[in-house]
């Protein structure tokens, strides 16, 4: 990764000629709050669908098509309490397009769209703002329809109501209703004038192209190191049980565990491997026993939120099998405290290494990996692979001893209703 300053912006470039696309990104680093998430989503939608020169969705979209479907998007990710807002533009490698000014046209369209948005007297269009709020509200309401996702979020609401994990990536009705047009305008100014940011470029590009692309910007780059927080360690005193009835044909079971292993913990990679050993592969313990041995579920998977230090395990099961499934999952996790299958650990290592190796084959994955690396791990792919290879069975046992069941959520219904 080549690092240079262009117009006071730190720009990181990865020159790779195997891709047929070129990606440029501006990444803003702000505070991860529910309000910023909502503002970010609304702003992202407005900036990527309208601009001063193309003030309607139709006109903007027509321009996107003229530029060979060169679209840009704004999405967000959080790492701990840092919110990354990524403005990404992906274009076809100009050598594959028979148009002399293609690169310059894309560059102009991108910068005009984000620096000259569709505003009247400095304020975004009330109509666009209301429209995005309405669409977002519908998305929030319709979360109810996806029962797996609904069950997961209900577990988090009950288990960690005041923790960072309960910030909803799709927003909340309350925050959405509170947000005003002037707050959106202020947020836009904050991102583009006060916020820490970095630039990224990946693909078959030249120094000249990178310099030319970022010459249009004027940002201030400050220290973007992630802040470390002393998160409390949770040891649940008792297991909380929550049940909810809806008209579902299959029960949705979610178990929430406290892990106490953060991004920076010495057992971060053992925890990643432990997660894979539980459900990430067809050879994983829970997949083998819950699905293959007992036929209790078609799907069982786990997720670890490292900033919140929470592990969740989710399965679709029949109501009468709930206790049996919970007992099996609990026993398997407890067994890991004393016995770890060395072969399974090796498979998990191979799978994880393969995953990191494959990152090199995808432009956007590489970009996100690089941003994340800059923020937290400070390790390149080879260093990560080396670290993964050093993990041993004893460390997995230690990880298993640091897992505590906190809450069991079960969404059930009457199959015959």
């Amino acid at each position: 990764m080549n690092r240079q300053m262009i117009n006071n912006l730190e720009v990181n470039t990865l020159f790779i000629n195997k891709f047929k696309t070129i990606s440029f990104a501006i990444v803003f680093f702000s505070e991860y709050t529910q309000k910023n998430i909502v503002l970010n989503r609304i702003l992202g939608q407005i900036l990527s669908t309208t601009s001063r020169n193309y003030p309607t969705k139709k006109e903007f979209s027509n321009r996107v098509y003229e530029l060979y479907h060169t679209y840009f998007s704004m999405f967000s990710r959080n790492y701990d309490e840092t919110l990354m807002s990524v403005l990404l533009v992906t274009m076809v490698n100009p050598t594959l397009i028979q148009e002399e000014n293609y690169f310059d046209d894309v560059k102009e369209f991108f910068w005009q769209s984000i620096l000259q948005p569709n505003r009247i007297d400095g304020s975004f269009s009330q109509k666009d703002f209301n429209e995005e709020k309405k669409l977002m509200l519908t998305s929030i309401e319709n979360m109810y329809n996806n029962k797996e996702s609904y069950a997961y979020h209900r577990l988090i609401e009950e288990m960690a109501p005041n923790e960072i994990i309960n910030i909803k990536p799709y927003g909340t009705k309350e925050v959405l209703n509170e947000i005003s047009l002037s707050e959106l305008t202020d947020y836009y100014h904050y991102l583009f004038t006060d916020c820490n940011c970095k630039g990224y470029a990946i693909g078959d590009i030249t120094d000249e192209m990178v310099n030319s692309f970022f010459a249009s910007c004027s940002f201030s780059t400050k220290n973007t190191d992630m802040k470390l927080y002393a998160h409390p360690t949770f040891l649940p005193k008792e297991i909380h049980y929550i049940e909810e009835k809806q008209d579902v044909k299959q029960g949705k079971l979610v178990l929430g565990y406290r892990t106490n292993i953060h991004y920076f913990h010495q057992y971060y990679f053992p925890m990643v491997l432990f997660d894979l050993m539980l459900t990430g592969m067809t050879t994983s313990s829970l997949f083998k026993v819950v699905r293959e041995q007992y036929g209790l579920a078609y799907s069982i998977h786990s997720t670890v939120q490292y900033d919140a230090k929470i592990l969740t395990i989710q399965a679709g099961i029949e109501e009468e099998n709930k206790d049996k499934t919970v007992n099996i999952i609990q026993k398997i996790i407890q067994d890991y405290q004393n016995n770890v299958d060395e072969k399974l650990l090796q498979m998990a290592k191979d799978t994880l290494i393969s995953y990191y190796t494959e990152t090199n084959d995808d432009c956007q994955s590489l970009l996100l990996f690089q941003i994340r690396t800059d923020l937290i791990k400070k390790m390149n792919i080879d260093e990560i692979i080396a670290a993964v290879n050093t993990v041993n069975t004893q460390q997995i046992k230690e990880v298993a001893k640091m897992i505590f069941l906190d809450t069991i959520y079960f969404l059930y219904g009457d199959k015959n209703e």
């Binding site: 969705k57 027509n62 996107v64």
Partner: protein, 433 residues
């Protein structure tokens, strides 16, 4: 191997047919680290009825047989599992069943020879036990129940049921509770014998690979096996009427706001007029012009609060069946369906304009070139094109050959085709957001 180089994309497709009938395709991607392999049979959920060519005997499989077979193929001797062996090689295996094919997929970054040879081995050697089948039934029933809780899944199959009288598109790929229970070892073995013969199968490898060496591994593996002659069975395709089965249907689910689907049944004989990929592109261009973000309609639908961000439209195009589907959740389901109906029945040819057509074509060209960076997209694009007897990498030339006259001709066909509507209503007022 036969090599076709596509200079515009700087990609090459290698192909050959082995002595046993197996079709092999490869696309090497320079500097990529991942190898993606798909071994597939032209046996999908819609293939349930067959006729023996010699005896004229009719053979029927329960709904969901292709999908059940896909699950069961991973079972190996001594209670071992093919997925475990792939994992021991550091490879990630999976499989899927669609309407018209069953495919086994593996991704790896090392030990390509072992991975490819094992992929061929496990799919060509069934190992079914009554106990294994009984266990798998429980898992598949859970999969079936999982899909019953998904509104989009229910909406799709209800739309198919409205559109089709006899076409098995209306049946769920996984089957149903009754049909799954009927599947047994004899049926699975017979299905494997009929439809997993090398003559009915394709192996496609994309990504990090050396063509000649990889072909040698495949030939070594296949030459070491004996195959019986390909069974003389033909797929029996049910006769489908041109009219729709039902004009309207509605039902309830425990959801927050209603879901709607609008479907148009197109006479599949349209393919006699155009190359099938050409029809696919023409449909995409028409739908984008009428309903895409670059249309007036899209803004109108937003202004009238008729659609959400989940609004989607697509055309299903095969040699045997063609339909257009529009879906969204909507607070005003009847209004939205009426809007669609009016748009198609009273639509004017002048809504389709040359300038938009040219722009959308450029957009599709850009998306296609960008998709060349994704190994999985290339693989499945080639497989889809092969099913339609088309050359995937030649798609851009086909796209560029489309004229405004072609667009208007297909538009007239769409306008005069029968349509149907489905609504899922919320069962009760939701308590939570």
């Amino acid at each position: 191997m036969n090599k076709v180089y596509y200079p515009r994309l700087n990609e090459a497709l290698y192909s050959t047919v082995l002595k046993n009938g197996l079709k092999v395709y490869m696309v090497p991607k320079a500097d990529f680290q991942k190898t993606y392999c798909v071994f597939k049979t032209d046996f999908g959920s819609i293939h349930t009825n067959f006729i023996h060519r010699d005896t004229n005997e009719k053979i029927s499989f329960p709904q969901g047989t292709a999908h059940f077979l896909e699950h069961q193929m991973f079972a190996m001797e001594k209670n071992k599992d093919a997925g475990d062996y792939f994992a021991s090689l550091g490879a990630d295996s999976n499989a899927y069943t669609s309407y018209d094919e069953t495919a086994y997929t593996v991704t790896c970054t090392k030990k390509q020879k072992e991975v490819i040879q094992f992929l061929l081995d496990f799919v060509q050697k069934p190992c079914f036990t009554a106990q294994g089948i009984a266990k798998e039934k429980k898992i598949i029933l859970q999969e079936y129940l999982m899909y019953q809780d998904k509104p989009n899944n229910r909406l799709h199959y209800d739309l198919m049921n409205n559109l089709y009288w006899n076409d098995p598109l209306k049946e769920e790929i996984v089957g149903n509770e009754e049909s799954i229970k009927k599947i047994n070892k004899k049926i699975l073995l017979q299905a494997h014998q009929f439809l997993y013969h090398p003559q009915n199968m394709t192996l496609l490898i994309v990504g990090h690979l050396h063509v000649e060496e990889t072909l040698q591994w495949i030939m070594d593996n296949q030459n070491g096996k004996q195959f019986s002659p390909c069974p003389p069975v033909d797929i029996k395709t049910p006769i489908e009427l041109l009219s729709i089965h039902k004009e309207f249907n509605q039902f309830e689910m425990d959801i927050f706001s209603p879901y709607v689907a609008y479907g148009i049944k197109i006479n599949p004989h349209l393919y006699k007029k155009f190359n099938i990929i050409k029809i696919d592109y023409i449909m995409k261009i028409i739908l984008e012009q009428l309903f895409g973000s670059s249309s007036d309609t899209y803004q109108e639908l937003l202004d009238q609060d008729l659609i959400s961000k989940r609004f989607r439209y697509y055309a299903h195009i095969t040699n045997n069946s063609m339909y257009i589907a529009m879906q969204s959740d909507s607070k005003h389901p009847e209004q939205l369906l009426n809007y669609f109906e009016n748009k198609f029945l009273n639509g004017r040819r002048d809504e389709l304009q040359e300038a938009n057509f040219t722009r959308i074509k450029k957009g599709i060209i850009g998306s296609f070139i960008k998709s060349m960076d994704d190994v999985e997209t290339i693989t499945h694009g080639i497989l889809d094109a092969l099913t339609l007897n088309c050359d995937y990498f030649n798609s851009l030339d086909i796209l560029e050959s489309i004229t405004m006259e072609d667009i208007l001709l297909v538009y007239d066909v769409i306008k005069n085709s029968p349509h149907t509507k489905v609504i899922i209503n919320p069962k009760k007022v939701a308590k939570k957001e």
